[in-house]
């Protein structure tokens, strides 16, 4: 059985880890010093050997991504840190930046050096005010002490870091839309190819990496690829932050090696499901990953095992729901999110999600028709793989998977016209930032 690890979270308990003093006292910036002693090629190879896979959702091997960057174009190379963290249920980057901002900055400097990049950007979700303040403070300290800026630690390497507060749109987490937004344009995804590695920010080679991915880098440099591979599975090595939420006793971020069974994470770290509630359905990696059921409770949380069950590891945001939650209502909540966040560029996502949200709403209001289920299913098929970017694909995940596992709940709802007694209908409106009505998920406490 895997044991919980403390790599990314190793300073979470240190009171002043967010300050340069606290960070350096606990061994911080040692990795940077040793990284500056090796060549960029060696560092790129090291990250490749470590098997680190991107933590932003797609799980693409980071070292391979770095290898795609042409080094001889004569254009600058940019590193962009994706701190937009918009995936519902995901809050790992936020805590990482709040509690240990220097870990991220150290990772950025090392990665920049490895990529021969002299200017990195942090694209921070607009709502993340507190993490932003922490990053700003950390940047100021690190600049002052020469960990960032001209001639880092006297090595002759220049790395500048720009913090950019985004305007708060889920689509701006998609890497090409992020680059558009960073350039000051409408946040809509770009046509690929060319891929960002070749022509990204300002038409120059660009690497976009998630916060957590980059936070892993100093540890890999410090302890080596061998050590890194000692955690996790062969194809998904390393530690991972799992953000568990929903009807569990202690929701929060927990660090486990990849490949730890979901049940172990929930039971050992979160104290299990709330008392008297049994797991009914859960999303393994944010709302864009297909739902799983209690049947899949023991699935190892790594990229390949989850994929084998027909879902995705995504961001590792586990949202756990019990018998007391209506899956239809939860799905409507997510669908409304996608409807609101669709960028509008392509037809299937813009129109299809708008349609599906209305159908779900109608079903919940008691005006569903049994044909609607077929329509929902068709609409999902017509969006999936046909939309411009992965947001459209993600929007179909909850609907398609809930229809697969909980079709009878939909049918009952359509037949009876209302939710069964044990669910409270529309427990309350959570936020209304769009003029759109967004019912909360139905959790009766």
């Amino acid at each position: 059985m895997p044991e919980p690890v403390k790599v990314l979270t190793k300073r979470y308990e240190v009171e002043d880890a967010h300050t340069l003093d606290g960070y350096v006292r606990t061994g911080g910036y040692a990795a940077l010093r040793s990284a500056l002693g090796s060549s960029p090629e060696q560092l790129r190879q090291l990250v490749k050997d470590s098997g680190l896979r991107g933590r932003g959702g797609a799980g693409f091997p980071t070292g391979v991504k770095w290898g795609f960057v042409p080094q001889d174009t004569g254009k600058p190379i940019y590193l962009v840190i994706n701190a937009d963290e918009g995936e519902p249920g995901t809050f790992k980057d936020r805590e990482l930046m709040e509690r240990d901002p220097h870990q991220l900055l150290e990772g950025i400097v090392i990665a920049s050096y490895a990529l021969n990049c002299t200017r990195a950007f942090i694209f921070l979700r607009g709502e993340y005010l507190w993490p932003g303040i922490r990053i700003e403070q950390a940047l100021a300290e690190a600049y002052r002490e020469g960990y960032i800026g001209r001639d880092v630690l006297g090595s002759g390497v220049d790395v500048d870091i720009t913090l950019h507060y985004a305007a708060g749109a889920y689509i701006c987490g998609e890497e090409t839309a992020l680059l558009e937004a960073l350039e000051g344009r409408r946040g809509q995804p770009r046509l690929r190819p060319p891929f960002p590695a070749v022509a990204g920010l300002y038409a120059s080679p660009t690497v976009v990496n998630n916060v957590e991915s980059i936070a892993n880098v100093p540890h890999i440099v410090e302890h080596g690829a061998e050590w890194y591979r000692s955690m996790g599975t062969e194809k998904s090595p390393g530690p991972k932050l799992f953000c568990v939420s929903g009807e569990v006793v202690r929701p929060g971020n927990y660090e486990w090696p990849l490949g730890t069974p979901a049940r172990q994470i929930v039971e050992e770290s979160c104290g299990g499901m709330l008392e008297g509630r049994a797991l009914k359905f859960w999303a393994p990696g944010g709302s864009s990953t297909p739902l799983l059921t209690a049947e899949h409770y023991d699935v190892p949380m790594d990229f390949d095992s989850i994929a084998a069950e027909g879902s995705l590891l995504g961001t590792g945001a586990m949202m756990m729901f019990s018998e007391r939650t209506s899956v239809v209502d939860a799905v409507l909540n997510w669908t409304k999110f996608y409807e609101h966040e669709s960028c509008g560029k392509c037809t299937p996502c813009r129109e299809g999600v708008f349609w599906m949200a209305q159908i779900l709403e109608r079903i919940l209001e008691g005006h569903g028709r049994i044909e609607d289920l077929q329509t929902l299913d068709d609409a999902c098929d017509n969006i999936f793989g046909r939309s411009f970017c992965a947001l459209g694909d993600g929007a179909t995940s909850p609907i398609k998977s809930s229809l697969k596992y909980f079709r009878n709940e939909y049918e009952q709802l359509i037949e009876r016209g209302r939710l069964p007694q044990e669910y409270a209908a529309h427990a309350g409106v959570v936020t209304d930032n769009s003029g759109m009505h967004r019912p909360s998920q139905l959790v009766r406490r």
């Binding site: 254009k75 000051g184 344009r185 300002y202 120059s204 392509c346 999600v353 329509t375 017509n382 793989g385």
Partner: protein, 660 residues
């Protein structure tokens, strides 16, 4: 086409089971077109960069997990592509997109201007579902709102294909129309504080694949199937855009740009598109008139008028020979008409006294016109592919709008360098590479200095660098623009370097236009008097008389995305220096291009060899003008002068030989 160059690498693939070889990089949708397979599309336009937004053009490519958009995927060697004609996957994907597009569509085809020529309607008819599964609420917007005096927008009908916005960004370069909001609420809109004042706005109505953008001048006037279409050539300026003139009950209902890749591609300007109301004006002569014995003009039958004219010619020739006759054509006929007239004059009337104006405006013009009459000038294609273009004393957008679009295209696609010589850089300020300010009328001295390879220190050559206005020029690494100054890009074999205008000179600034602080040339907008412009705008119609356009405010330069920390050249306020006195207005035509026969070459023999060479004809009667980079309207045609009766303008169809 450059495609046929033997050096171009090709790819061979099959589409719907048939093999095709096309140049590498050809998009699947274009390759299929060549085979006669029409893949449905909305956002695709051959002259706009692909966006792949509407997802209508999906095809199946063997080996790909999911269907691909034909409008954005280049055909690769060995591809096995199946379109909706042979693939269920592609057909299914396309029908699904159609269903999605119709969800929010108001379906008011019976009262829509586009009905009958609407790609969405045609698509639906061809393979749409007979019934809708959509029971819910459609998004609702206020019906057609005017976004400019010429253009109306109905957001309910819009399929958000972004053709209009891309046209504005990529082609006309005046991004006054944009997409706003997101999700199902995404919509086309204009800025609150920047009116949609484009010289090319009519094109967006033409390329809109649905009835979302319509022209006020045509709204509810006719149905496409009631129209008879004639081909024509625009007579508003020297550019010679090909037109489709749509006529109903003998009256022009609208004019559209007709595709001609050698001239106007698929575009025209609003003056050419909307400036036809005078044709049906009550004051216009519609039939010949003959003077009676008392000297009064009386309407007459054509045969009477022709006989009368013939008799007059004959009498004049008997009295004084051909030399007694002069033929004035006016400056707005096509090359072909001009050629026909000049042949008639020289061979039948036996005279060389052919001209298109009453008198040369300046003495030097006489020599210039004599020297260039009958020569075949550069074509739009040569202008587009020239590495450097020197524009002297011409504000292209104001005076030759389609040439302006070509220059923009050349800058965007071929990194052309434009050197502006004149008191203002005008509309070219945004795309020019260097500006050599002169006093009005002194352009010739600069050209002579350039030709003589004189250096920038020379008094005549005060060269001003113009920062690249478009930071997305494909080849340009923005990193090489550390400041608002363009680094000298010249090299030893660079034609520009050779003419020594790569460095900023230190000569004195001429009085006419002192170089502005920002290094960006001032631009002059709007050439009507203010009151005239206001009248036109109030009347919501185009001012075709004389100067053409209601004035518009200086518009914002496209905002380049400058990397942080790098000073972007501030466009600054555009000064409005006095325009050089006596500048010709738009509408004059360069000789040898269609501006009439021009003055006869001195002492040319009357017949045969001495005639100006025939203009380039193409077999189908398709008219191909050799246009001018030299299209500074060095001529002043009588009929364009304000106050001169327009009724003297000549017939406007290229194919109809005109008889004076």
């Amino acid at each position: 086409m450059t495609d046929t160059k033997p050096t171009t690498p090709t790819v061979t693939a099959t589409i719907d089971g048939r093999e095709i070889t096309v140049p590498k990089g050809t998009l699947i949708i274009r390759a299929a077109e060549q085979m006669g397979i029409l893949i449905p599309r909305f956002c695709d336009h051959p002259l706009l960069a692909p966006v792949a937004a509407c997802r209508q053009c999906m095809v199946e490519i063997e080996g790909q997990r999911k269907p691909m958009t034909a409008c954005s995927t280049p055909l690769a060697d060995g591809n096995v592509v199946r379109t909706h004609l042979t693939s269920e996957v592609a057909k299914d994907a396309q029908e699904a997109q159609l269903e999605f597009l119709l969800l929010n569509h108001p379906l008011d085809c019976p009262q829509c201007d586009k009905g009958g020529e609407c790609p969405l309607q045609d698509q639906t008819l061809a393979h749409g579902a007979p019934d809708s599964r959509f029971l819910d609420d459609k998004r609702r917007y206020e019906k057609s709102i005017p976004i400019s005096p010429q253009i109306l927008l109905d957001r309910e009908k819009c399929v958000l294909c972004a053709r209009c916005t891309r046209f504005s960004q990529e082609i006309s370069g005046d991004p006054f129309i944009e997409l706003f909001e997101r999700g199902a609420l995404e919509q086309v809109a204009i800025y609150e504080d920047e009116p949609y004042e484009s010289y090319y706005s009519g094109n967006v109505a033409q390329i809109c694949p649905v009835g979302a953008l319509t022209a006020t001048s045509y709204r509810f006037h006719a149905r496409p199937f009631d129209l008879r279409s004639e081909r024509g050539v625009c007579n508003q300026c020297a550019n010679g855009c090909n037109l489709r003139v749509d006529v109903r009950h003998g009256e022009i209902q609208r004019q559209l740009a007709h595709d001609n890749s050698d001239v106007n591609e698929s575009w025209n300007c609003d003056k050419g598109r909307f400036g036809f109301e005078y044709v049906n004006h009550a004051d216009r002569l519609r039939e010949p008139a003959v003077r009676d014995d008392l000297g009064n003009l009386r309407p007459a039958a054509w045969i009477t008028a022709v006989r009368r004219a013939a008799a007059g010619f004959r009498a004049a020739m008997e009295a004084g020979g051909g030399a007694a006759i002069g033929v004035l054509t006016g400056g707005r006929i096509t090359d072909e008409d001009a050629y026909a007239v000049s042949r008639f004059a020289r061979e039948v009337l036996d005279t060389d006294n052919v001209d298109f104006r009453l008198a040369p405006r300046t003495e030097e013009e006489r020599d210039v016109l004599g020297a260039i009459a009958g020569t075949v000038g550069p074509t739009y294609d040569t202008v587009e592919h020239a590495p450097v273009v020197v524009v002297a004393g011409l504000d292209t957008e104001e005076e030759a709008p389609i040439l302006h679009l070509r220059l923009r295209k050349a800058v965007r696609q071929h990194q052309q360098r434009i050197v502006v010589v004149g008191p203002v850089a005008g509309s070219l300020a945004e795309i020019a590479w260097r500006w050599i300010p002169t006093a009005a009328g002194d352009e010739a001295a600069v050209l002579a200095a350039l030709a003589a390879d004189r250096q920038p220190g020379d008094a005549a050559l005060h060269v001003i660098d113009v920062p690249p206005a478009d930071a997305r020029r494909p080849d340009a690494s923005t990193a090489s623009w550390p400041s608002s100054r363009v680094p000298a890009r010249g090299s030893a074999d660079d034609p520009v370097a050779a003419s020594s205008i790569t460095a900023a000179g230190g000569g004195p600034a001429p009085d006419a236009a002192a170089p502005p602080e920002t290094g960006r040339p001032p631009s002059v907008r709007g050439r009507c008097s203010t009151s005239c412009a206001r009248r036109c705008a109030a009347a919501r119609r185009w001012c075709w008389r004389g100067s053409g356009w209601p004035s518009r405010r200086a518009r914002c330069a496209p905002r380049p995305a400058w990397p942080p920390g790098w000073a972007a050249g501030s466009p600054g306020a555009r000064a409005r220096p006095p325009r050089g006195a006596g500048w010709p207005r738009g509408g004059g035509r360069a000789p040898g291009r269609g501006g009439g026969p021009g003055p006869p070459p001195a002492r040319s023999p009357r017949r045969g060899a001495g005639c100006p060479p025939a203009p380039a004809w193409t077999p189908a009667g398709c008219w191909r003008p050799p246009p001018g980079a030299r299209s500074r309207p060095s001529t002043w045609s009588a009929s364009t002068r304000p106050g001169t009766s327009r009724t003297r303008s000549s017939p406007r169809r290229p194919s109809s030989g005109s008889t004076p």
